[in-house]
Symmetry: C2
Subunit: 497 residues, 2 copies
Amino acid sequence: MSKIPELREHFSKIMTLKYIYNVLDYDQQVFMPKGSVKGRAEQIALIQELIHEMIIAPKTTSLIERAEKIPNLELIDAAVLREAKREHEQAIRLPGKLVKEIAKTSSLGHQAWETAREKNDFKIFKPLLERMIELQIEKAEKLETHPSLYSTLIDLYEPGATHEWLENIFKKLKKHLIRILTALENAPDKPDDSILKKHYDKEKQWKFSLEILKKLNFNFNHGRQDLSAHPFTSSLSSVDVRITTRIWENFLPACLFGAIHECGHALYEMNLMEEIHSTNLAMGTSMGMHEAMSRLHENILGRSKEFWTYWYPKLQSYFPEHLKNFPESEFYRAINVVKPSLIRVEADEVTYGLHIILRFELEKMLIENNLSVDEIPETWNDKSEELLGIKPPNDSLGVLQDVHWSAGFFGYFPTYSLGNLYASQIHATLLKNHPDLPEKIKNGDYSILFTFLKENVFQYGKIFHPRELLIRITGEDLNPSHFVHYLEKKFYPIHSI
Amino acid sequence: MSKIPELREHFSKIMTLKYIYNVLDYDQQVFMPKGSVKGRAEQIALIQELIHEMIIAPKTTSLIERAEKIPNLELIDAAVLREAKREHEQAIRLPGKLVKEIAKTSSLGHQAWETAREKNDFKIFKPLLERMIELQIEKAEKLETHPSLYSTLIDLYEPGATHEWLENIFKKLKKHLIRILTALENAPDKPDDSILKKHYDKEKQWKFSLEILKKLNFNFNHGRQDLSAHPFTSSLSSVDVRITTRIWENFLPACLFGAIHECGHALYEMNLMEEIHSTNLAMGTSMGMHEAMSRLHENILGRSKEFWTYWYPKLQSYFPEHLKNFPESEFYRAINVVKPSLIRVEADEVTYGLHIILRFELEKMLIENNLSVDEIPETWNDKSEELLGIKPPNDSLGVLQDVHWSAGFFGYFPTYSLGNLYASQIHATLLKNHPDLPEKIKNGDYSILFTFLKENVFQYGKIFHPRELLIRITGEDLNPSHFVHYLEKKFYPIHSI
């Protein structure tokens, strides 16, 4: 029995409004006719207004104050209270004017960013980016959860993470990634992915992705897969989790790994313990931990040799015209090509982290006023050369490639890399506890993997903070050497090193 | 410039919440996974609560009182105020306890009705139907908009209609329908619809329906068509109107006429004048007028000879295996078979009204305590024999066939027949003003029809009450003889009378 039923109930209403927001947003991205934007925008604005009103209502303050006086709250009550306070304080500390200004700048910024990228002209985006950085600094000053402004922003996406902590981790990671990348680039035997760029029938790609989702325990009674421009996952309720993928006729990995990646996100949201359904704990604990679940599925599982022992014969029967005589071992190498490239979202497992470190270092300077917006393109290009060995020939392939800054998402990028690090550390523990895991995966049996993640990650939602959860599972704080070992153990043999 | 901008704005927020409700409902009926009902139910309950709170808020009362004091409101302001008062008074007069009791009884009643129909056992449904009738009587007593209880309920669906008015109309209609039906039944030459019951590929049926929708001015930039168990139309905003149809592989009319019927509803909602977008006038003025637009499209247009002059060659090229050598004139007759049957939703244009009159007469007795629930099945069966000449062999094919009473929709059935009457009266005026209409339709040109309906019906939304609108368009109050003439002119030749 909860000791704070009213607080739970109040935030459960707020959560219900958030689910409604997700229904409106999902429909807009997946089903809505093109000309219906205006009507939907009014609906979304109203729901956001109602959510905000409910969070800052005097009732919220009094419920929180009453809950704080109750001694010995059990685990879930304590977490409900913690999250309620966190959300309430954020909303209270941010003046309505600032929130609106950020929304407006984000909307204008998005348009300017799109045009700038299209015309390959950073100047078009520059004034809005400048304004957005000022606003983000103001936001961090108002929130004041950490002494460092950048840490305050990071904490919004990854509770408990600070920029000092990340800096320390990324410093080590950077050294190792560059070392491994150099080794792979000098390797005599590199994989070739041209087989993936042949023509693959769309309908068959779709069916194959559904077959994999079913096997991976995606629950079609509580979810569905659709198509959209960019793959994403959304919880329309605790029992309605939807994912999207896209299909490229001339690039097999787009649909396939898009689906597996989003499946990882969906499994997290689909397997919350029933007691926290519809509470303010009913979602993944952080962006980083969420990304860990998607990358564990996409990369550690989906791009592993064992996974394809089971699936390659099936894939061959879907596409005999290309794959009937193409060896499984070469297919495995093809989906694991490592090659420095300019675009983050197309990066492989080794170079991906370097793209993130570049953005992390830039964001830190921008938020702490050590870099002017004028200097961004050149600094970006220099860092790209330093980290990846290649310099973008223009800003569209450089600083203008990502949408995040136009939307005001400063402090978000690091969570992508945290995902890789969490995933490999959790996977190392899982392997230690279950040495028979690779054998099971070879047979298309994901029960050990699924049960382990459900018991240790999924079910808890936001009950534990991500670092706390990681330590509970693996017995140690974040340690990038697990990821480094994982990369070496996987990619050296692929390159005959 | 509106003189009551705040009242408009307040009810526009309420309208936005109603659109959100429609998004939640549409998604549930069309896309939502089966196992997600619980989460969606919480969202729908919350939105309904918010709508109710906003309607009964003290702010609403004071805005209405202020608006009432303003002299010389222009047309739209006056209608906004009228609808605001109507909705506010309804909400104020109905005690929350009664509303909840009806909702609960409706939910239990729906289950009981489903089981009763499945098991063909009226007794299972009886206690809940009894309770629902008591509650509807209580509701009418509280609302007290008319001296007669049944009129009060009818007015909820058809503002301005009373049971005396309907009784008078239905009395005439009944006489004529029975006369026409008798003539058709005794005709020597009856159409045969077996051609419609062959196997028609689903994908092709779907494509053909889309082709027709486009031609009929369904705006795919502000709408879409999907599949669902029962066809329906829903406005997800003023610029997002969606329809559904169903496809039966062995019955061509299901998809085809389902789509055309819903298209009529959709055109109404898609063509409101921009000034009333998102106001409380942004929807069809009544169930009857809505049904008029759908039936005008489905029956008067879609089952006409002229319509198929244009479409039959196209339909033949979709399904040459059945239609290549099947004459157009026989196809036209096949889609216009008249035959008394037990099930209302499958009834033809002539017998449909008799099904409605049966329900109207029963409802009147039930609401005015002149019939006990025990007596319903027998009375139903007797009336069926009197009106249609056939007696249901069991209650599943009789009193248990419709969902309406289980949901508490007493007073709704008459609007279906009003739809037919409005449609033929409006169509008669249209034909008088535009004698070239049939010729245009033969050429697949619906511009006269569309423009006439847009200018005279669609654009006004709820600005005018249905009877007012009818008189504005046709110059006379509702006159069933237009429908009677339409039926005679159409069905006598089909039967070589």
